[in-house]
């Protein structure tokens, strides 16, 4: 690839869940004091963009995030990892957007930012966990969508070779430029930011796009632009009150109790159960 490649990486800022604790009394997640971070699954998309940049030095990687004004930190983190620039799409009009309204805003933002050869994003965000914004952006832009991508290569002929991690194995596909690829964890190991990178991110000018910049009708964004409505939210108790035995105190007794329990749920050792032989080929 001699010509410059333009890559957009769609990222989201989420509450840091790495050290989430659950209140044992109520079963509710304790959210106080939780920091915001870049969605951990988006780091693989950022890393992939930076790797492509290293391979094709003319590449320009733009991180795009939608969120409140403080989400500029996500764009700065992307620059710290090696992206060239960051764009924050932010406006009060976007509040309450579901995945379709979010994808509508992001696809218009990408359109405004110009033609991209490749759009990368993570599998899903660890807060909403829908995984349907990325493919919807591709769908709205009319570019081919590759999901669950575990390997990606840009070939000299300008096509994209992709592997998709699906149930039971990997599919190999080729796709044109431009395409949108949703990547999974398997694809790479995201790098840590260097001190120099962090400084660069901190100093960088983050471009912002607002509702007025996108030329979208009001009824396509925010609550009005969201076909789905959340009608109720509750915090389920996820705890089970199971029996516990100690192998330290009575190894043989504990083992026997375990075997009896397994036999009672139908797992006493029966190689004829489905799945025992399948898939070993």
């Amino acid at each position: 690839m001699e010509e410059a490649l333009r890559i957009a990486v769609l990222i989201k800022q989420v509450p840091a869940t790495e050290n989430v604790k659950i209140d044992p009394e109520t079963g509710v997640m304790i959210r106080e004091g939780l920091e915001a971070e870049v969605n951990p699954l988006d780091l693989y998309a950022l890393e992939e963009a930076v790797r492509i940049k290293e391979k094709f030095p003319h590449t320009r990687a733009t991180a795009v995030t939608m969120g409140p004004p403080a989400a500029d930190k996500a764009a700065r983190y992307a620059i710290a990892m090696g992206c060239d620039e960051g764009v924050l799409v932010t406006d009060r009009a976007f509040a309450g957007s579901d995945t379709l309204a979010t994808a509508t805003v992001l696809s218009h933002a990408l359109y405004r930012l110009g033609a991209f050869d490749l759009i990368l994003t993570g599998e899903r965000a660890t807060d909403g966990e829908t995984g349907q914004v990325g493919p919807a952006v591709g769908s709205l832009l009319g570019v081919p969508v590759l999901t669950f991508v575990s390997r990606l290569e840009i070939l000299p002929n300008g096509r994209i070779l992709a592997e998709r991690a699906v149930e039971g194995g990997h599919e190999r596909l080729s796709a044109p430029i431009p395409s949108l690829a949703v990547v999974v964890k398997e694809i790479n190991v995201p790098r840590l930011c260097t001190l120099g990178g962090k400084l660069k991110g901190k100093k960088a000018e983050i471009r912002t796009l607002s509702f007025a910049d996108l030329g979208l009708p009001r009824e396509r964004v925010g609550l009005a632009g969201s076909p789905t409505k959340v009608v109720k939210v509750c915090y389920p108790q996820v705890t089970r009150k199971g029996r516990k035995v100690s192998a330290a105190e009575d190894f043989d007794g504990a083992l026997e109790a375990l075997e009896t329990f397994l036999a009672n749920v139908g797992a006493g050792g029966n190689p004829a159960l489905p799945g025992a032989e399948e898939g070993e080929a």
Partner: protein
Amino acid sequence: MKAGGRGEVWTLAEIREGRLHPVSYELLAWGRGVADALGVPLASVVPGDNPPDAASLFAHGADKVYLAEDPGLKHFLVDAYAGVLADMTEEYEPQVFIASATTQGRSVMSVLYARLGCGLTADCTDLSVRDGLLLQTRPAIGGNVMADIMTPERRPQMCTVRPKSKRPLTPDPSRKGELVRYTPKKSSLASALTFLGFDPELRVGLPIQDAEVIVAGGKGMKEAKNFALLEELARLLGGSVGASRAAVDLGWAPHSSQVGLSGKSVTPRLYIAWGISGAVQHLAGMGGAETVVAVNIDPNAPIFGVSDFGVVGSALEVLPRLIDDLKKNKRHIPAGRLAGR
């Protein structure tokens, strides 16, 4: 599409390697309840190259089967699938469209809903009908929040449901239905993607998303080679091997086996956690298991809080003994009780 009409309830059948995948039948169990509550027919939509006999879909609850047949649908190419399904949705105007949250279902529904401008609710764990609308319940933030979601205006109301979260209906071979052969438009079949091949993975048992029994290991397994013990137990129980993020990051198990927020969500009948402490992210991935057994050296490990049965002890001491006993002790052979439920 706007609300109104008496549209059908649709489910998306899934073909893998030329055969109907069991999620196709699970979806009919989901759809049957919704269609009956709405008083409309239930249909199964089957896109494929050489779709199988529809009789089994009727037996499992479908009133109608739409066969969309074309060589262009031989492989799962998301743009062709979404194109054909968009045409069919516009032509027949279903009011509900349910797919399974498999890699195929998630991918095609995410492209399709945006094209149609509809609402899509991912990974539902419950569906019901309220005031003539689909009430969709789904977990978020690692299962710590449950949200009820409705799509009041746009049609179809689209959702994906967790695989294996409902048993198929008992098949009734005498059930008959209406078969509709749909001829996909050439323009919609055109795909920008080229399928090059499929490389199956070498592994014991089914993919963990499909497994009835999962034997999972974490840091308490101490070394990569000890995962061979988990494979042995999985073989004995007819299950598959899962792993915590820590074990995958240490290179002891492949990414495809990772259970948790950054891995797979699994819904087996039985989940046995060996040396897994149970970080919130891990619990998010296995909370849908019917029965959970944990073996961990730390009596305060959070995994015990979600377990039906726990053994406080070293995984590496208990596991070999359990395997030995299972191998020689033939008194427990409950002949497919797990699989039969």
